[in-house]
């Protein structure tokens, strides 16, 4: 049955800072960068920052591990007079695509009128995402994980990737194709961190950080901030751009995935998955659509292998067939035609976390907005529906479908 809030709210503003290689944003501060992203998003929407009266976060506003900011500091910093809504999706980057749905909840409850979702991060030497689990103080729970030397998210997910290879014959060639297909979309993006074409030799020559994943299978470690503004579709008529309608938005997941790679207790087939099947099925139920109806897919790509598993969980291909799907070129965007390749849906036309920047998934939401507005740098021809995903990570993970107005 169609979602009761379908198309009733829309993303009307997007804004960002420059993207910096990890640690290079200093002496900017986290509130400086968050403020710039919010002000840019307000300008994009055509509203005053004083119109903002809601915040819908995920990942406890700061990737869960780094310098934090919060509603109080943002209100004080930016002069926001009052708010009626401030909420966060629990867990980490898995919530990025669901945060606009949280905004919808606030808007439909008439708690607020313009809601900001923001992520800002700054990885100074004492705060690196790449080794976050290894650097954490021992806790009773992580004492069952940390001593194994699985120090960062990529190390954890290399273990999932290995299981996928074992069960389904997935190859490193498919990981390479994820990296290369999305790298091909950054050469014309001024802010992208990695813009050069990537040859086979360069990929195979990369150091293995956690076999079977090499350095380029790991996403960038980036500093920067990205904000989006959500309001009602009715109110969106007064904004500067065509609204990106929130057509479907889900977050959650099922217990078999649960704490996922923080436990490593997932049974097959969930272990070698992205943990998205439950939210994907709900998203398609909400919208009456399927993966094949998407014109573009912005797939959270903190690690190349996890893109393949999401393609399976969302139904772009059958479980276990992402290797062949990728190697058939179906992730590619063809700039000559503005369409996909070989019957595929273009993935990460902005270059994704692997190549453009890693702002904990916010760039995927921005790209989804620009695609359905028709203003994307790598515009998909006649794009009507865009999928963005958050995670894979511990629950909740999330999915978002935006529709052209």
């Amino acid at each position: 049955m169609a979602w009761v809030n379908q198309d009733k709210c829309a993303i009307v503003g997007v804004g960002a800072t420059d993207y910096y290689v990890r640690g290079k944003s200093w002496p900017r501060t986290i509130n400086d960068m968050a403020g710039e992203a919010i002000l840019n998003a307000c300008a994009d929407a055509g509203i005053s920052v004083k119109d903002i009266d809601g915040f819908a976060y995920y990942s406890t506003a700061g990737a869960g591990y780094l310098d934090k900011f919060d509603t109080a500091s943002l209100m004080e910093t930016l002069g926001i007079p009052h708010i009626g809504f401030s909420a966060t999706l629990t867990s980490g980057g898995g919530g990025v695509a669901g945060a606009p749905g949280l905004a919808v909840a606030g808007l439909m409850n008439e708690d607020c009128k313009y809601v900001v979702t923001i992520m800002a991060l700054q990885q100074l030497p004492q705060h690196r995402l790449g080794v976050v689990f290894g650097a954490a103080a021992p806790s009773p729970e992580n004492s069952f994980l940390q001593p194994s030397g699985l120090v960062g998210p990529g190390h954890l997910m290399s273990v999932l990737a290995r299981r996928h290879m074992h069960l389904y014959g997935t190859t490193r060639e498919a990981f390479k194709e994820v990296v290369q297909a999305t790298r091909a979309n950054t050469h014309n993006r001024p802010k992208a961190v990695r813009k050069d074409p990537l040859t086979d030799e360069q990929y195979w020559g990369q150091p293995m950080l956690a076999d079977p994943l090499c350095r380029l299978d790991f996403c960038l470690e980036t500093d920067g901030a990205v904000a989006i503004i959500t309001t009602t579709t009715e109110r969106a008529k007064d904004c500067r751009h065509a609204p990106a309608l929130i057509h479907g938005c889900t977050h959650g997941g099922q217990r078999e995935w649960g704490r996922a790679f923080a436990w490593m207790g997932m049974p097959d087939p969930h272990f070698a998955s992205s943990g998205h099947k439950y939210v994907a099925d709900r998203l398609w139920e909400q919208t009456g659509l399927s993966a094949k109806d998407m014109d573009v897919a912005l797939i959270y790509d903190h690690f190349s292998a996890m893109v393949l598993m999401q393609l399976e969980d969302y139904g772009f291909c059958e479980k276990g067939e992402a290797n062949d799907y990728a190697l058939a070129g179906k992730l590619r965007y063809d700039p000559a035609t503005g369409c996909g390749v070989n019957g595929g849906v273009p993935v990460n036309t902005h270059g994704g976390n692997l190549n453009e920047a890693y702002i904990i998934g916010m760039t995927h939401v921005v790209e989804a907005v620009e695609q359905v507005r028709g203003t994307a740098i790598n515009q998909v021809k006649d794009a009507e529906f865009a999928l963005a995903t958050g995670g894979p990570a511990s629950l909740p993970v999330s999915g978002l479908v935006l529709r052209k107005a």
């Binding site: 080794v131 290894g134 021992p138 806790s139 009773p140 729970e141 004492s143 069952f144 994980l145 940390q146 001593p147 194994s148 030397g149 699985l150 120090v151 190390h155 290399s158 273990v159 999932l160 290995r162 299981r163 074992h166 190859t171 490193r172 060639e173 195979w204 150091p207 293995m208 950080l209 956690a210 076999d211 079977p212 994943l213 217990r255 436990w263 490593m264 207790g265 049974p267 272990f271």
Partner: protein
């Protein structure tokens, strides 16, 4: 081409660099390890195993626990191969494994495996517990090729 890389002998991470903490739910596991006894948290009402140990049985919500002595053998469920000591960045080949514990269906441990070259570790490989002394007098279960 998918390269098959050569890493050489897999070693457990140095115990003197590893610290753990416990709470009342998890401490019996670590106290058993001090005695070189591999156990897992089992529901004393329905028999369901769960690891890491947690307050409630997810199957029947009982808080009653028992800590049976397991055979100490396991099967590699998945693994990674790493080449840098996470504490100091030095070259150091180790293999984090996720293992299914024999005698405790559904219970898994994360550990290191040694006793073979890293590139010879494979899913389905049989391993046996190997005790590593770590900080503060605690003992960590690792595994060795069986």
């Amino acid at each position: 081409m998918t390269t098959t890389l050569t890493y050489g002998p897999a070693r457990a991470l140095p115990g003197e660099q590893i610290a753990i903490t416990t709470n009342p739910d998890t401490e019996p596991f670590w106290l058993a390890a001090k005695e070189h006894r591999l156990t897992a948290c089992q529901c004393a009402d329905c028999g369901h195993f769960r690891m890491p140990p947690s307050p409630y049985c997810p199957e029947c919500q009982s808080t009653a626990k028992q800590w049976p002595t397991l055979p100490g053998t396991a099967t590699v469920f998945s693994f990674a191969i790493c080449t840098k000591n996470p504490k100091n960045g030095e070259d150091y080949v180790y293999v984090p494994v996720v293992v299914d514990l024999d005698g405790a269906p559904g219970a898994r441990l994360n550990a290191n495996v040694s006793g073979c070259d890293a590139e010879d570790v494979h899913i389905g490989m049989k391993v046996a517990v190997d005790w590593t002394d770590i900080k503060d007098g605690w003992v960590l279960p690792n595994f060795r090729k069986a």
